[in-house]
């Protein structure tokens, strides 16, 4: 009989095509949007050729300009597009934002800009390093008697001999890609969509919230038994939607989730429980009209996402540093962090800390919902 109830409930939930569509489809859309937004970021192809103007005394090219033009972002993409202009032209171009800045070269280059932005600081750091190399070459040629021209000839070679003296000491082969956090927040968001499922189950079983609930309340089935079947049905579908997202993230978008499949599934399961319990609690504990309760749910889901770094990842760190307890009370944050641990850390301490807190929250939410719903008579319907 319990299985029968469970089966019917699944059928019932599945028929609500719109909700099913959104539960499965939404996280996917969001993941695709995020993917599009970040795809470029991590690869560093984002820098475009920067237009600059150069003003020389004779109006011709010199060593500096040639060096500048030689710098490449990728094989066939130059970092700077240098145009030789008169001072007045260059000024006008800068005013109309045609160029990032212009360089006046008399005895040494002077950079003229309108304001300091990313492009300008790239230009500046190029000029900085040019000057410092130039100084180095001068010093060397002064102390060991080779002539200036020869030194200049080697100049580009010297620049090319630039060597990276830093090794990244982070967690071995793992790519410390912060954009992953954004995708983990989507998983957390999907878990938190469970609030809707939990909410609906509670509405459908309470006599004072729906006609169907009233009918169920006078049937001889133990309410808690029926509720368990229904919640299990909701969990089944919700969990499937999460797994669907995980599969999409991992197989289609190639987002790294780490190797510990069992733990990943467990985290999702706890996340789903927590979401459903939270929705159930809001449904029974907040006694206002549906619109307000809907708003509260949205705010919890979205605010939780925000605090876990969904819009701006820094927020997550800000919370972790300044108000860690907020992070501990925010299921989205716990889920996001758990996934981060699964990907990044080999140990289990922090993962278990997150999962433990998640369990506690779930139990608290569930308990509040239970004690409210245990009441079987209502003051008014």
């Amino acid at each position: 009989m319990a299985f029968q109830l469970y089966k019917t409930r699944i059928k019932c939930l599945c028929r609500n095509y719109e909700i099913i569509f959104w539960s499965f489809g939404f996280p996917l859309f969001l993941a695709i949007f995020f993917y599009m937004g970040f795809n470029n970021l991590a690869k560093g192809e984002s820098i475009d050729t920067i237009p600059v103007a150069a003003v020389t005394e004779d109006g011709g090219e010199n060593e500096f300009i040639r060096t500048m033009e030689a710098v490449q972002i990728t094989k066939d993409k130059r970092l700077f597009k240098v145009e030789l202009k008169t001072l007045d032209d260059a000024r006008a171009m800068l005013q109309n934002d045609k160029i990032a800045g212009y360089i006046v070269y008399s005895d040494k280059p002077v950079l003229h800009i309108k304001n300091m932005g990313i492009e300008q600081s790239i230009v500046k750091s190029f000029v900085d390093s040019y000057l410092s190399r130039k100084g180095t070459i001068n010093n060397i040629s002064n102390s060991i008697d080779i002539n200036q021209e020869e030194a200049n000839k080697d100049f580009t070679d010297v620049l090319a001999g630039y060597k990276d003296y830093l090794v990244d000491g982070r967690a071995g082969d793992k790519n410390p890609d912060y954009t992953l956090i954004y995708f983990y927040t989507i998983i957390a968001l999907t878990c938190m969509f469970g609030t809707n499922w939990g909410f609906r189950e509670m509405v459908d079983i309470q006599a004072n919230q729906s006609a169907v609930g009233a009918r169920i309340n006078i049937s001889p089935v133990h309410k808690m038994k029926l509720l368990s079947c229904n919640l299990l049905a909701a969990f089944t579908l919700h969990y499937l939607s999460i797994l669907f997202l995980l599969a999409f993230l991992n197989k289609v978008l190639r987002i790294e989730l780490g190797q510990r499949t069992g733990m990943i599934l467990l985290t999702c399961m706890l996340g789903s429980f927590c979401g459903i319990a939270l929705g159930a609690m809001v449904c029974v504990a907040v006694k206002t009209n549906v619109k307000v309760r809907g708003a509260i749910l949205n705010v919890i889901v979205m605010g939780g996402g925000f605090l876990s770094g969904m819009m701006i990842v820094d927020v997550k760190y800000m919370i972790a540093a300044k108000a860690p307890f907020v992070g501990y009370l925010n299921p989205s944050s716990l889920i996001t962090d758990a996934f981060y641990c699964l990907y990044y850390y080999d140990g289990y301490n922090r993962l278990f800390e997150n999962l433990f807190m998640l369990c506690i929250l779930t139990v608290v939410f569930g308990a509040v919902a239970y004690f409210e719903i245990r009441r079987r008579e209502y003051a008014s319907i």
Binding site: L5, K11, S210, R215, P220, R376, E377
Partner: protein, 310 residues
Amino acid sequence: MIVEVKNLVKRYDKLLALDHLNLAVKKGEIFGLLGPNGSGKTTAINCILSLLKYDKGSIEIFGKPMRPDAYDIKKNIGIIMQNVAVFEELTVYENISYFCSLYVKDKKEVKQLTEEAIVFVSLQDFTKFLPKKLSGGLLRRLNIACGIAHKPGLIILDEPTIAVDPQSRNKILERIKKLNENGATVIYTSHYMEEVEQLCSRISIIDKGKVIATGTKDELKNMISLGEKITVEAYNLKEEQLDEMMRISNIAQVDYSDNLLEIKSKKGKNNLIHILDYLQSHDINFGKIFTEMPTLNDVFLEITGKELRD
């Protein structure tokens, strides 16, 4: 007694919804609960079903006290609510079978009962329909099927015919009678006195949360002093003549408008003859004559001083 309610009190804040309500429903009867909108019918039903908390009083069903977890009692109750209570996402068949399965464990039996219920409400052609595709009348029938599929001994119908066309309404009433003939005790609430008169073997009239009268419809009608109502199509009556008529014995009230003379008589014999005598003796021309027995509305009017339907 199938249902026995004693001194039931229910308050909503300041509003006294049920004021020491007493009801007793005997086995095998169709018990009517008649009262105007807002008189406390639905509240009473919800209290009887333990859906609502009540402040005072006792409720026994099948001789046992009713509690929210009295599952053995609930097992034998069927309820048809005022609002249609079905799942939007499930088909007609699935809805009936789901609610039936809450009562009956055996799968085969559920199937059989569901099919019987569908036949009973004549929804055979609509088993695969979703509720939103059904018309109002069909939806009500589905609502009824969901409530009675498990063949309960006690069926409670809370205004099941609200917003239903006359044809469907008659069908519903017929079915309720049939359920009763099959052995079920029925409690039926309504503010349509015609329905209650037509259907119920015993009736309680309630107003402001109190039972103001209980009995068969004849008993109720005998409770009041009013006799039959006589309407005569008569022409050119004068004021004095109306006053004179008031003096005839057993006449309670005389109204005259649009050539229609309406006379309410007190209980007694030969009231009509006295009036006809008077009309003849005064050479008053008259056409059609018809008499009506007092209705439950008259009963209600006399006891409370207001109309049943306002």
